[in-house]
Amino acid sequence: MTSKIKMFPGTPLSEEDFTEGNVLFNVDQMRGDFAWDTGVAIGAYLAALKEGMLLGARCATCRRTVVPPRLVCEWCFRPMVDYVPLQDTGTVNTFSLCYVTWDVQRIKEPEIPAVIEIDGASPLHGIMHKIGEVEPEKVHIGMRVKAVWRPPSDRVGAITDILHFKPIEEV
């Protein structure tokens, strides 16, 4: 059928069609302000962050420790009541050197997002955060890192109470 069809619908436009006024368009902004309740489990996680601690939850049935904590184990569907403090150290599971922002602006110094497997949680269980205080080319999978916390007086109970993770000096 594509072999028989000569004309497909769809008309491509270029940026000039807009700048030169070849087409009409209207512009609007969507604005929305939200306040999200943090809930039981994430509320506990954030309260612990304010105290300078990473909190996990343990499922006794599945024998795994997850992070962030949650109210229900998604695998056995039983309640997770056992909240456990984890270390603020971990291992880089994967990372990226990112040269664009969320709205695709170019940046010179890369951001270094990473998944960090947290010590005390089950294998392959970690959180997304950023790596800092390191030469970008030295970051590698398997690298040991430690959280860099805001001073206690500046903490608000948010994931950003951890500024980033930095490499642990290997002795």
């Binding site: 769809g10 512009v27 939200f34 994430i42 599971n93 990473a114």
Partner: protein
């Protein structure tokens, strides 16, 4: 299981373009009309309509399904919009399939549409809301992060090089040069071009990524007694599968998509396929990024873990290879208007299995093909197997 046989009997699509003059409704109508006309049907023949379209945030239209409904031919008919993120394009025909297989409807029109260009300055910002608003969004993540993180983990786990992954992009974009609707077809692109392209979020470079696009695709599904009356070349839907994994994406193995495996096993069982590597003649895995095609081929059991690059190195995945992969040109080449891109793979199998794919035709009269899409927060797999 008491299910009726369901055939694809028509398909239509618009060009995939960076920026379309047509509105989402107009694109939908273009694709739907082509599907109906080429099957010699009219809207009166359609019992029900299914629409797939991805996040409402792209065009800031609340209830996008209702907005699209007139362009999709849905008024005064039973109508549903499905949504499983990037997996939507292959889920919408699954929804259409169970409408017909159940015996509820005889003829269903499935339309998938996406217009990403309305979002300023770049549609990527619309993806910000997929991250958890409390634990992740304060870090100001962007969509490229999760792909870059997953790609790096995949490369590291199996020792796969950037060069091996770039071959995927090259082959798909070359295939797309033969697609009349393609946005980024390029017959002359090389691995070096991919490796030299701008680094966005290492290891992801510009030519590893599919383009933001606008477009629509439609297919018509019919029960057996209708299909045999309307066409002498029905293409049967032999198996479907879908599966959702945990949204706690940092708490699972990023190197292997288990949810794709579950979806594929469901579809293989329904289709009676025991040896997919021999029985699937064309694969259209979801390829928004080049490594994703490899990741998915492994999840689909079409390659061993970490071995999918061999399909490209050995020429098995080429259009004239033993198991062509993305002969359409895929998302990397044809374009990635999210939901429409998934349904494009279904349309491609329809044309390929009927021998109507023109310059893209896979030789050797292929009998069976598989289309797969993937989405949400790296957690959903949708699979359709089609045969003649």
């Amino acid at each position: 299981m008491g299910m009726r046989k369901v055939a694809v009997i028509g398909a239509g699509m618009t060009k995939f373009v960076r920026r379309a003059q047509e509105t989402p409704k107009e694109l939908s109508w273009g694709a739907a009309r082509m599907a109906l006309e080429t099957a010699d049907l009219t809207l009166d023949d359609v019992d029900a309509v299914c629409v797939g379209t991805a996040p409402d945030a792209f065009d800031s239209v609340h209830m996008n399904g209702e907005y699209l409904s007139d362009g999709a031919g849905a008024w005064r008919k039973p109508y549903m919009r499905s949504y499983v993120g990037g997996g939507t394009g292959v889920f919408a025909p699954i929804q259409g399939w169970y409408h017909v297989a159940s015996g509820l409807f005889d003829l269903v029109l499935v339309v998938a549409e996406e217009k990403m260009s309305s979002f300023y300055p770049h549609a990527q910002a619309a993806f910000l809301t997929i991250f958890d608003h409390t634990t992740e969004r304060p870090l100001k993540p962007n969509l490229l992060w999760i792909f870059a993180l997953e790609m790096n983990r995949y490369m590291q786990t199996y020792g796969i090089s950037k060069e091996d992954i770039a071959r995927v992009s090259v082959q798909h974009k070359r295939n797309a040069a033969d697609h009349p609707c393609a946005l980024l077809g390029d017959a002359d692109i090389t691995v070096q071009d991919v490796l030299n392209s701008e680094v966005l979020a290492w290891p992801v470079q510009r030519l590893d990524v599919s383009p933001v696009s606008d477009g629509a695709v439609a297919v018509i599904l019919a029960a057996e007694h209708i299909a045999k009356r309307v066409t002498d070349k029905p293409v049967w839907i032999e198996g479907v599968g879908w599966c959702l994994d945990t949204a706690y994406w940092t708490n699972r193995d990023l190197a292997y998509p288990r949810y794709v495996e579950s979806a594929a096993r469901m579809a293989y069982e329904m289709a009676g396929i025991r040896e997919p590597r021999k029985e699937i003649h064309i694969a259209e895995p979801y390829d928004p990024f080049d490594y994703k095609a490899l990741h998915h081929l492994e999840g689909l059991q079409l390659a061993d873990r970490g071995q999918a690059p061999r399909l490209y190195i050995d020429g098995i995945a080429a259009r004239d290879g033993n198991m062509p992969v993305c002969p359409s040109g895929g998302l990397l080449g044809v374009g990635n208007p999210i939901a429409a891109a998934g349904l494009m793979k279904i349309a491609e199998l329809f044309w390929q299995l009927r021998g109507e794919a023109g310059d893209r035709q896979v030789p050797g009269s292929p009998r069976r093909g598989l289309a797969q899409a993937w989405g949400d927060l790296m957690q959903v797999g949708t699979v359709v197997i089609m045969g003649r």
